[in-house]
């Protein structure tokens, strides 16, 4: 009874604690391996790196995995980013890429998901070999990262060449939803 005002205020503040938007600074540099621009953000226990991929780089990669020229153009027509995510914390994190988005100007877009791509490959009659390679080359759409885990893969965004993206990713840790934004990611 005595603490009721305090308790009430605490309860009112609780939902705010269940979703955390990180105000992390984006660091841009040239990637050591590719010489292409990359963007790094650290937000709490999660570290994210996005590396630009040239359309020809993407074409060459998937031609080498058995796709034909018309099919690789479909992939290279997207803004393809090498995406690397690290869990540097002490708690597992879970992500669902369906919750990710990007702002291109005032338009919100979502990354193209694996299920959508695989449906397209099936409709086009793409052989199993290239489809298997595609499945493992893309960043997993759903994943649980234990402490110390990390993963990399391509994310494909429906944006035109030269577009600038503010990429917003979301993950969940210990029942709390976290979000961070990587600003000014440029599609080559």
């Amino acid at each position: 009874m005595i603490c009721r005002p305090l308790l009430k205020r605490t309860l009112l503040l609780l939902p705010m604690c269940l979703s955390v938007a990180a105000q992390a600074e984006t660091e841009e540099a040239l990637d050591d391996r590719t010489g292409l621009p990359r963007w790094d953000v650290q937000a709490g226990d999660v570290r994210l790196r996005l590396v630009q991929r040239l359309p020809d780089q993407t074409r060459a990669f998937f031609l080498g995995r058995g796709f034909d020229a018309e099919q690789v153009d479909r992939i290279a027509g997207h803004c393809v980013l090498q995406t690397i995510l690290y869990n540097d914390g002490h708690a597992p994190i879970e992500l669902d890429m369906a919750e990710w988005s990007a702002l291109v100007g005032d338009r919100e877009i979502q990354p193209r998901l694996m299920s959508d791509w695989q449906q397209e490959w099936q409709d086009l009659g793409v052989a199993d070999g290239p489809r298997i390679a595609f499945r493992w080359a893309l960043f997993p759409n759903h994943q649980r990262f234990s402490p110390g885990d990390w993963n990399m893969g391509m994310t494909t965004w429906p944006a035109t060449r030269g577009a600038s993206l503010d990429v917003r990713i979301r993950w969940h840790a210990e029942g709390v939803s976290h979000e961070l934004t990587v600003e000014g990611v440029r599609c080559p």
Partner: protein, 202 residues
Amino acid sequence: MSSPLKVCVVPDLYYSNESPCMNRLRMNRLPALVLFAFSMLLVATVLAAQEELQPALTPVEGLPTASDFELRDLEGKTHRLSDYAGQVTIVNFWATWCPPCRREMPSMQRAWEELRDHGVIMLAIDVGEDEETVFQFTADYPVEFPLLFDLDSKVVQAYPVKGLPTTYIIDKQGRIAFQAIGGRDWDDAPLLEQIIRLQKAP
């Protein structure tokens, strides 16, 4: 008869007007503050200790049974997981085009040189590539442990793999004891100790 319990009303946080009990509250707060400081120190110590003891390999809850497989290696020899029952077996899923897979290969070879004397088995399963591709790869990354071919990716799909590389440590009873998602420095002493400890366990 008045109550023996004297109640001090906690002041509203949004107002600075002090209640008559505030002085007493301040006095009563001292032990609480000391306790709080000690608690924080304890939490910091525990967190620091956790950081030091952070296992390189994540224990897998429920120890699920590892799915058996039968795959050929680069020399044409067939390997079944069940052949290695009674030995700790490291099963690594990888591909030549995957940069972290390539990066961890030399450390896997160094780990293998250490672990084989302890009776540990190491199998690296290439996902979806042919023998020629992997053969060319071994010119740059020579390894002595078996490289197996999961050409149709049936085996990888029988495991909860989401991305490459992913590695499972199978215990002597054929259960998935640990996992590592993403590359590791396999010859790190704490990681090797985790595996050797598992091999020494009954």
